[in-house]
């Protein structure tokens, strides 16, 4: 139990997926204009990463490892994740239309979100078992959500500020992200 909590805090705050590992920068910069859309993206990421880390964990432990096909992990994982996202989308559309309406737009953007593949590969690299993989997945995704929602909040405020002409748009967002990254260093004392 203690180990799980350490993994969770480590992935969500200390080694934040966006601010210290730089995975999932594209949606982080692209979908962070409004807090609502950022939260929607975060929800979709939590949903997909949780399922993906479970499924890739099962495939690795029960299919690739027994057959000694570990070297195929990159190929298998990326295909599984890409297919999984699409199936999740179809499934949600048929079964849970309200949830689909809330998350649907963001789901297709997630496949090439390197965070998903990154989590799957980290789980293998650190030799996590299934439970730890899922906990690591959820925590990583929660860390992503925290970061993107905070950034969206900052961006909503900076929109009305007087920013030098050259720094308007992407540069000021990157500087906000840098300041957030410095702030997140404060968590490194937690573990």
């Amino acid at each position: 139990m203690k180990e799980l909590i350490i993994i969770a805090i480590g992935s969500a705050l200390v080694n934040n997926v966006v601010l210290s590992q730089f995975l999932g920068i594209c949606p982080f910069l692209g979908v962070s204009k409004k807090v609502e859309t950022a939260a929607g993206m975060g929800g979709a990421v939590i949903f997909v990463i949780t399922i993906a880390s479970f499924v890739t964990g099962v495939i690795y432990r029960f299919l690739l490892a027994p057959l000694h096909f570990e070297y195929l992990q990159t190929i298998v994982f990326i295909l599984v994740i890409a297919a999984l996202v699409q199936f999740v989308e179809m499934f949600l559309k048929k079964v849970m239309p309200p949830l689909y309406n809330a998350l649907g737009v963001y789901l297709p953007l997630i496949t090439t979100n390197c965070a998903v593949l990154g989590v799957a590969l980290t789980n293998v690299q650190k030799e996590y078992n299934l439970l730890k993989s899922v906990v690591n997945g959820i925590a990583t995704a929660v860390g992503f959500t925290i970061a993107i929602v905070i950034l969206a909040g900052i961006r909503e405020k900076t929109e009305y500020n007087d920013i030098p002409e050259s720094f308007k748009g992407t540069p000021i967002v990157l500087i906000s992200a840098a300041l957030m990254a410095i702030a997140f260093f404060g968590f490194s004392g937690l573990i």
């Binding site: 730089f22 979908v31 990159t74 953007l109 390197c114 002409e165 050259s166 990157l174």
Partner: protein
Amino acid sequence: MEKCKERLYNGLIKENPTFVLMLGMCPTLAVTTSAVNGAGMGLTTTVVLVMSNMLISMLRKIIPDSVRMPAFIVVVASFVTIVQFLLEGFVPALYDSLGLYIPLIVVNCIILGRAESYASKNPVLPSVFDGIGMGLGFTVGLTAIGIVREVIGAGEVFGMRVMPSSYEPVTIFILAPGAFLVLAGLVAIQNKVRAVLAKKGRNMPKTGCGEGCASCGNSACNGKIFAVENEEQKGREEQK
């Protein structure tokens, strides 16, 4: 031959993936802690890009349109796996410092983007040169960011000391926040240059993905791997 030269120029300058298109941001920020790492990542990506462009261009008449995305992904992932083993065997130091970011080359928008928008429509030779141009453009971008971060953060370039010994390194630049700061500075400089050139009446190429991959219309980047679903999406958009 003219076309090949044009492709090289296009990748290196006109559509430079790092500075103009802003693609592949994850490795750009993550591995540029030093010039060596940046150059290593850039060259690794170049090798994968050239090989995948070549193979996809050769197979462009064989791969059916409806399964092209999964096919491209398999080709790219195979080359990434091969390159990963080569690095592990021959350049273990680079393999250790790039770590997780080597397998993550698979999800680099540049590679799938070039496969989709160029290699799947053009003959082999121009596609290879397109890969070389784009790859070198990416390498130049990463190395430049790596040099800036290494000089400010450690006072060194490619491991050699360039700053006077009285210089106190600003360590934050080789840590995570430095990546964001350096990129912010570079984009701001680029914006400034654009503004000045636009005033002089020069026609500047538009930035492709200034707002990140999410808003770029590149179908390779928005991750639909089965074409059926793609058409459904189109239908949905038309209904709106």
